[in-house]
């Protein structure tokens, strides 16, 4: 009986150790909830808002940053406007686009039309891209969202934004907002700070960590455009004395649009 109980205790202790390590030995990352399509009010959107939408989709629902990031898993897109012009003249290009805008849209929905050397699927001699068609399958971007990403890429690479904000496009999101039971949106900015663990690195009124800038008076020091960019693309402007790649780059993916605005209002009010 003693041996039996020892074996039982040993088994429970071993399992308990594995469970405890998984709970307390590593950071608990809460994965983003299933994506929820935004209801797009395109008619009242300015081009800046449309570009911001593109940025959110790029790093969120579109999952583009999984590969198009600093690690170099997919071609860099910083100078895509300039690069795209050259690709249109490349003898390997077999698509139908004649403008940069058309090329960008084409490469989002037919990525294999032109595969950048070294980035093709293994064994296809750069004839087939590993990138999926963003309008289908698991990503399922609407025409408006693809246009928004195109506008964002043009803006990001310093090119002229030629994309027009679409109108009259049936918004797929309208049909699907009833699907699933995503988490409730949070409208309390302090609860948002807790939910997205902002306090772990940022201090407000003496509370919080010091790995990021102190935000106690951030509203007096920075405007809303800067703050929005800092939330959606933290590496765009890294505050002096702090290191890049510290803040999660996918807050735009994790937050609802309304939550982003709530947080922005809160930060802008810290004076």
């Amino acid at each position: 009986m003693r041996q039996f109980l020892t074996v039982v205790a040993f088994t429970l202790l071993t399992i308990g150790f594995f469970a405890a390590y998984s709970n307390y030995g590593i950071p608990q990352i809460e994965p983003a909830p299933p994506p929820k399509d935004e209801k797009l009010d395109l008619g009242s959107m300015t081009m800046d808002q449309f570009v911001a939408l593109g940025e959110r989709v790029f790093s969120g629902k579109g999952t583009c940053t999984l590969c198009h990031n600093a690690l170099g898993r997919a071609p860099a897109l910083e100078n895509i406007t300039e690069v795209a012009s050259k690709r249109l003249e490349d003898p390997r290009y077999e698509g139908a686009a004649e403008t940069v805008e058309a090329y960008l849209i084409e490469s989002l929905v037919e990525p294999s039309v032109f595969v950048v050397t070294g980035f093709g699927k293994k064994g296809t001699n750069d004839k087939e891209s590993p990138m999926p068609d963003v309008s289908g399958g698991g990503i399922g971007l609407s025409e408006a969202e693809i246009a928004a990403i195109t506008a964002y890429l043009q803006d990001k690479s310093g090119g002229e934004i030629t994309v027009e904000i679409p109108s009259g496009i049936e918004n797929k999101a309208d049909e699907e907002t009833e699907e699933g039971e995503p988490r409730e949106a949070i409208n309390d900015p302090e609860a948002l700070m807790v939910k997205f663990t902002c306090n772990a690195c940022h201090m407000i009124d003496g509370k919080g960590g010091d790995a990021g800038p102190n935000l106690s008076r951030i509203g007096a020091m920075r405007d809303r455009t800067y703050l929005r960019r800092a939330l959606l693309d933290p590496n765009a402007d890294v505050a002096k004395g702090f290191e890049p790649d510290t803040m999660p780059p996918d807050l735009g993916e994790q937050m609802y649009a309304a939550e982003l605005e709530t947080l922005l209002n809160f930060l802008a009010g810290l004076k």
Partner: protein, 605 residues
Amino acid sequence: MNGFRPVKIGMTVAIFGLLVSLVSLALPGFEQSAVYAAEPAADAAPSFLYEPAPKLTAADYPTVAGVNSRVVVWVFAQLHLWFAAFVLAVPIFVFIIEVIGMRTRDKRYDDMAYEFIKVSITAYSLTAILGGGLVFSLILFYPHLFTYLSTIFSESMFYYALLFFAESAVLYIYYYGWHWLQGGFKKWVHLTLGLVLNAVGTTLMLLANAWLTFMMSPAGVDAAGVFSGDEWAAVHNFLWNPINLHRFVANIAYGGSIVGAYAAFKFLTAGTRQERAHYDWMGYNANFIAICALLPLPFAGYYLAAEIYAYSQQMGITLMGGIFAWLFIIQAVLIGTLFLSANYYLWCGMGRSDGAKRYTKYIKYIAIVLVGAFLVWFTPHTLVLTNEELKALGGPHHKILGPLGIMPAKNTAVNVMIIFTALSFMFYRRSNKVAVVSWEKAGNAIQVALFSAGLLNIIFLGVYHGYFTNTVYKVAASIPQVLTTLVIIVASITLDSFIYRGAQEVGPLRWGRIPERAQYALFLLAVAFTWLMGLMGYIRSGIRQHWHVVDIMRDASSEAFTPTLGYAANVVSVAAIIFMALVIFIFWIAQVSSAKTLPAGYWKE
């Protein structure tokens, strides 16, 4: 009499399983989903039109107050999988041990094989019961998913039910006929039954694998989920074979670890020296089986991960570099536990031989290397740091230690662990032998050169690709590293067998002369394997994220979110405790079945 109870339970559940399958075929919505084309061509074979995958809302998922449907299905699936892995693996090595016994005419092997299969027979009944529970909970909580999968896999599900009957029949004849089918032609008949048992069992696994891999890499359907009618295409989907290979190898390692725990339990509770010797020998063989399958397992796992990446770059990155990345640090702890406990058991086992002293001085170096490799695997790529730490590091990654967090270093670590485990095994084999060939020294020198050159090559490849190539080429080291490891192991063991051909024995191996703590290494192996399988099952299923069938059928239930690692670990732990309790129950039942009570004065004389 003892054996009839599991037979009855097994047959009852088998009938239930078949009934469930037949009922599912008649479920509302099942037949309606496959309707004849409105106007089939007169001279063409009848063709079916299938409906697209349903688009569900949260209201489409039945709920039971106070019951978390996902956790119920999860726990049933995990328990069923653990038992299924065990009962599919045991007949594989029972067959091999029986063949060894037949060839060597050493009855100990035959007795051991029988004892292994005896342990699995109760587990078989539990496997069926838990499989029934899984089907029931799926139909109850996820009826539309079950209907959709049943539509596509109707034939394979029907054959699965038939094969289950065949498996039951063959297993019971194999087990109950063991002592009857002995000697000469009868033994051949019994061996053939063992082969048939394994063929049927493996086919069952392949069919079940097809259903789950279809959910990860659907085939035979269009973008809307409309089934083409070609079930083979759905079965033979992109990830089917990688999962088949990985599960086949892992099941053997797992089965070995569970019977090793059984032998350890029996060793600890043995009343006589003979019993201790017998169960020590059994534990050694079980551990040997587990290690043999454990060594190629990381390669099978790597192949599976590479194929997941090849199927979908997004899924691959989610697996290795996204939200699941930290899971591989937990995995490192578990793999380290497996390798260290398996090696520790071997080192303790060297005490059975009086000639082991020649090799014990090397053990500490092997231990240091194993712990070092474990620490490399354990090193995460990204750490949560304070600002001061970030400044001190000059960024989120240390310039020298940072690359230890990425694949080239991990691959290097696991290859080194495998090679040194093989070295432990070689020392164990040598411990009771004295070579008699004249070229022993030259042979040893060749082996040292082989190990040294191979390890240098593996480390060079790891360092070069870890520090001096860009992201796209980081994984390029893996295949040459694996090949190097295989060459070292195969060549050195082959050479060893020539060096020790006709070798003298130092003395008789003293089975049973092993410390009790070594038996706990066997328990640790079994528990770590169980928990690791649960964790990896979570990630395999979890990378589908909010999809029942990736890109085809979305999970719209309230439980569609991907849980945190802590949450998943808690579910796996609770399931593992239930499983281990059932396993201990099986051990106890196996012990009870061989106990006899002679109640004095109870029966009429």
